[in-house]
């Protein structure tokens, strides 16, 4: 069932009216998504989901509380509002609560990225689009895993003070693994693409890429731990940036002192090749034009040619700063906490036409397609992270990719490594933020491929497990 933002707003207004609370906010979201997921070259899960999610906040002066529900019945919405009201009555005052936005809030840009064709995609069409994928995998003699997902979202954010924000959008995502042996290791190749429109996805291109990488990845050699020049494809860069965003750019982490940029505005925190911006109104963004508090989103310069610039704020953290800053329109959520987060992080590109050009500048090093299980919590102040290579790691010798390499683990201060970046491709590639996607959000990361000099790998390639031991 498709629900428009106008439908949600009608429900929200009625719920607020019926609840009769003087100071309340209701955020309604409806997502209709379809996921055709396959493993071992079999379409083994095909879901069509209609999922509403509602969060309400109620304030009694500076006492504020929230409740959530997944029903869109008026009775359920009113019950959620009354639950939040009861909780607010019992809560201590939050001196930093800025109040809810009202009808005088600044206007937002038109941030809708709605593609009617994507919204209309059903199970049969997703299955049909995948049929050529399965044929390509069969012809290549490889097993396949992946998913084709389409989504239509509608949101409405309303307050009793007259705020009324509405958003609709669509997204389409394709991810494919071509595998030598399903589940047991062996060579693997990966492709992925994300867009607001399904017709922008090129399943054939990404499938052929995954197949090509899987073929190239057979019989890898083992490499020892050490420092290597590294060309990292956009998917790997995105995972690093996702963790960097989580730990380093928000007002909460800055206040705690754990953020990379804490106390360092105007200082070189990353290498000069690195410019990071939040571009929620950019052409590839999938987030609404307003944040979780209803503030207009805007472009934010986070790091400008390595120099720490703006910190991400929401209205509460802005008030907590004593009025020194205003919200940057980044009110968000992570793991159940209301914290400022980037909605559409973009790493500025460089001059290299493509990753091959970066490879040509390496005498001996590594080419890594993706990373796995990156963790950025080792030491956020220095952006120390760890993770594994995955789905394609190759030796570069004299400017050419020569042999596949068994996966290695890196442990590196990304901040320090960024000073050894001397090449980026021109065109960014779009990925979902893994952290956002896990919590049902649509935050994205757009980044190019990057060449690092002397990147630290702390564990060498794993030898095969001895079956007979």
């Amino acid at each position: 069932m498709s629900l428009s933002a106008d439908d949600l707003a009608t429900l929200g207004h009625e719920a607020l009216t019926r609840a009769g609370l003087p100071d309340a906010e209701i955020s309604l979201r409806h997502q209709r998504q379809g996921i055709a997921r396959f493993g071992r070259s079999v379409l083994d899960q095909h879901l069509d989901l209609d999922e509403p999610s509602v969060r309400v906040r109620v304030a009694r002066g500076l006492r504020v509380a929230a409740a959530s529900t997944n029903t869109l019945s008026i009775e359920g919405l009113v019950e959620a509002l009354r639950s939040a009201d009861a909780l607010a009555a019992a809560s201590p005052e939050d001196p930093f609560f800025p109040g809810f936005l009202g009808k005088d809030a600044a206007p937002v840009a038109d941030g809708s990225r709605f593609d009617a064709a994507t919204a209309a995609v059903g199970s049969a069409e997703r299955t049909e689009r995948l049929s050529s994928v399965f044929k390509a995998l069969r012809d290549a003699g490889l097993s396949g895993a992946g998913a084709l997902a389409t989504s239509e979202e509608a949101e409405a954010l309303l307050t009793t003070s007259g705020l009324d924000r509405r958003h609709r959008g669509t997204s389409a995502a394709y991810r494919i693994w071509a595998l030598e042996t399903p589940g047991a290791g062996g060579a693997s190749g990966h492709g992925h693409q994300l867009s607001s429109a399904i017709d922008a996805l090129d399943l054939s291109r990404e499938t052929e890429r995954a197949i090509r990488l899987a073929r190239l990845g057979r019989d890898p050699i083992a490499l020892p731990a050490g420092t290597y020049d590294l060309v990292l494809e956009p998917a790997g860069v995105a995972e690093i940036l996702d963790w960097l965003s989580l730990t380093s750019f928000g007002a909460r982490e800055v206040d705690e002192g754990s953020a990379l940029v804490a106390g360092r505005r105007g200082q070189a925190v990353l290498g000069p090749a690195i410019s990071l911006r939040d571009e929620p109104l950019g052409p590839t963004s999938l987030v609404p034009a307003f944040d979780r508090e209803g503030s207009p989103r805007r472009a934010v310069s986070i790091v400008d040619r390595g120099i720490a610039d703006e910190v991400l704020f929401d209205r509460r953290w802005a008030k907590r700063s004593g009025g020194a800053v205003r919200t940057t329109g980044n009110a968000g959520n992570y793991a159940g906490a209301d914290v400022p987060v980037a909605g559409a992080l973009v790493l500025g590109g460089g001059d290299a036409a493509d990753a091959d050009e970066l490879v040509r500048g390496v005498t001996r090093g590594l080419y890594v397609c993706r990373l796995h299980y990156v963790n950025g919590l080792l030491e956020p102040r220095r952006a120390v992270m760890t993770g594994m290579s995955r789905d394609g790691a190759f030796l570069i010798e004299n400017g050419q990719i020569t042999r596949p390499v068994g996966n290695l683990r890196f442990t590196e201060s990304i901040a320090e490594a960024s000073f050894r970046v001397d090449g980026l491709t021109r065109t960014p590639v779009l990925s979902h933020s893994l952290h956002s996607a896990w919590f049902g959000g649509n935050n994205t990361i757009a980044c190019p491929a990057v060449r690092f000099r002397q990147f630290t790998f702390t564990s060498g390639s794993q030898p095969p497990v001895d079956l007979g031991s």
Binding site: V42, A145, L179, G183, A184, E256, Y373, R390, A437, W438
Partner: protein
């Protein structure tokens, strides 16, 4: 029907007799009957203690209570109604020095590991207020502690860290759907392949790991899994040998084995997939302090800070909030930012001591992620502290 149109082989789904019954969590105190004012007081009091130092930059205290009512009806005639109540509480504090060192301490364990099945008694037994001062002081002490020195050392994992070690390096690789290649899209496959059953040495002979849905208070405890298989218990590793998987009816049938009843979905709108239950290291004997006293030179690490493991569940790296250096059977100094790495079978093969049942705390993790779309699952881990020889350690 749509999936079948593209399927290369028929699905074998073994029949079972119908199951009928109810399962209900035993509660001492219904958490939903506890007044809100009491709950807030139980959180605010320790929170105030955590903040009582100028070196503290942030503090949090939290509690969760969840009640799930689940009815499973199948065409085989199964009718299973379950009411499962879980809950827990915790707190954390962030301290920072003026030299830029920042340290966090979390109690009772890393956030998200403190849950159990039961009522408000799960929360009160944690005594947040009684531990707040020591948690704060540990965070402050860590600010001036030296980083963990690098080297190859004997390592003792405290109960909370051992729970995550079990989770990542045993629980996940023994998920049969992962081993067979059905879960590549999120976290990969498994080095534990079917041909290795009953012959592969996963760990030393003192290492036995079980999966059960029976342990009272376990987050992975229930009456029936989400395809109607009744709760049971199975060894995954017995005396160091890999012997079984967490499995579903379909996946187990592929190996000619019965399901170990591990098919679970986060909620009604997600397809069940093979998940952990309570995956636990069987305790042996002795207290943690006796184990420390028996260790001439080593590092004791506890409370997970970061986690990373490869897509076959072989090569891992963990860091912990707190560590102590052990010399001649005594903890001699506090260490910070401790990191350790290993390879799963080599690591478990170097396990030479496991504490007794009195030390085997039952942890509950409610945020285990798997599947596409992603699902979180509640799983339990009984985790006695244990000692491992020859482990690579260092600092971040």
């Amino acid at each position: 029907m749509l999936a079948g149109a593209l399927s290369a082989r028929p699905v074998v789904f073994p029949e079972r007799a119908a199951e009928r019954g109810t399962y209900t969590t035993t509660l001492e105190v219904d958490p939903f009957a506890v007044p809100l004012a009491q709950k807030l007081a139980d959180l605010l009091a320790p929170h105030d203690v955590l903040l009582a130092s100028p070196l503290v930059r942030a503090a949090e205290s939290w509690m969760d209570s969840v009640r799930v009512r689940k009815l499973l009806l199948t065409t085989e005639g199964t009718r299973a109604f379950q009411t499962i109540v879980t809950g827990g509480a915790g707190m954390s504090v962030v301290a920072a020095s003026d030299t830029g060192v920042v340290q966090r301490r979390t109690y009772p364990g890393f956030r998200g590991s403190e849950l159990g099945q039961g009522g408000y008694e799960q929360i009160t037994k944690l005594d947040l207020l009684g531990h707040a001062e020591s948690v704060r002081e540990e965070a402050i002490a860590l600010l001036s502690a030296p980083p963990c020195p690098a080297g190859v050392r004997t390592v003792i994992l405290g109960s909370n860290q051992l729970a995550l070690q079990v989770h990542e390096s045993c629980g996940h690789p023994t998920e049969l759907d992962r081993a067979l290649g059905s879960e590549i899209t999120l976290a990969g496959g498994s080095f534990l392949q079917p041909a290795m059953l009953d012959r592969f040495r996963y760990g030393s002979p003192i290492v036995s790991l079980t999966a059960d849905a029976l342990t009272p208070g376990g987050l992975g405890t229930f009456g029936w899994d989400d395809e109607g298989v009744p709760a049971g218990k199975a060894h995954l590793v017995r005396d160091g040998i890999f012997v079984d998987y967490l499995s579903s009816r379909e996946s187990a049938a592929a190996l000619g084995r019965p399901s170990t009843g591990a098919m679970r979905a986060e909620h009604h709108a997600r397809t069940p997939v093979v998940r952990m239950l309570n995956v636990s290291l069987e305790p042996r004997e002795g207290s943690l302090e006796a184990l420390v006293a028996d260790t001439a030179d080593g590092i004791l690490l506890d409370t997970n800070k970061s986690w990373s493991i490869d897509d076959l569940r072989l090569g891992f790296q963990f860091s912990c909030e707190i560590a102590w250096e052990i010399k001649n059977g005594k903890r001699v100094r506090l260490l910070r930012d401790a990191v350790y790495e290993g390879t799963t079978p080599a690591f478990w093969g170097a396990c030479d001591a496991i504490c007794g049942p009195e030390e085997a705390k039952l942890w509950g993790i409610a945020t285990c992620g798997k599947g596409d779309p992603g699902q979180s699952m509640s799983v339990g881990h009984g985790a006695p502290p244990a000692r491992f020889r020859g482990v690579t350690v260092g600092h971040s």
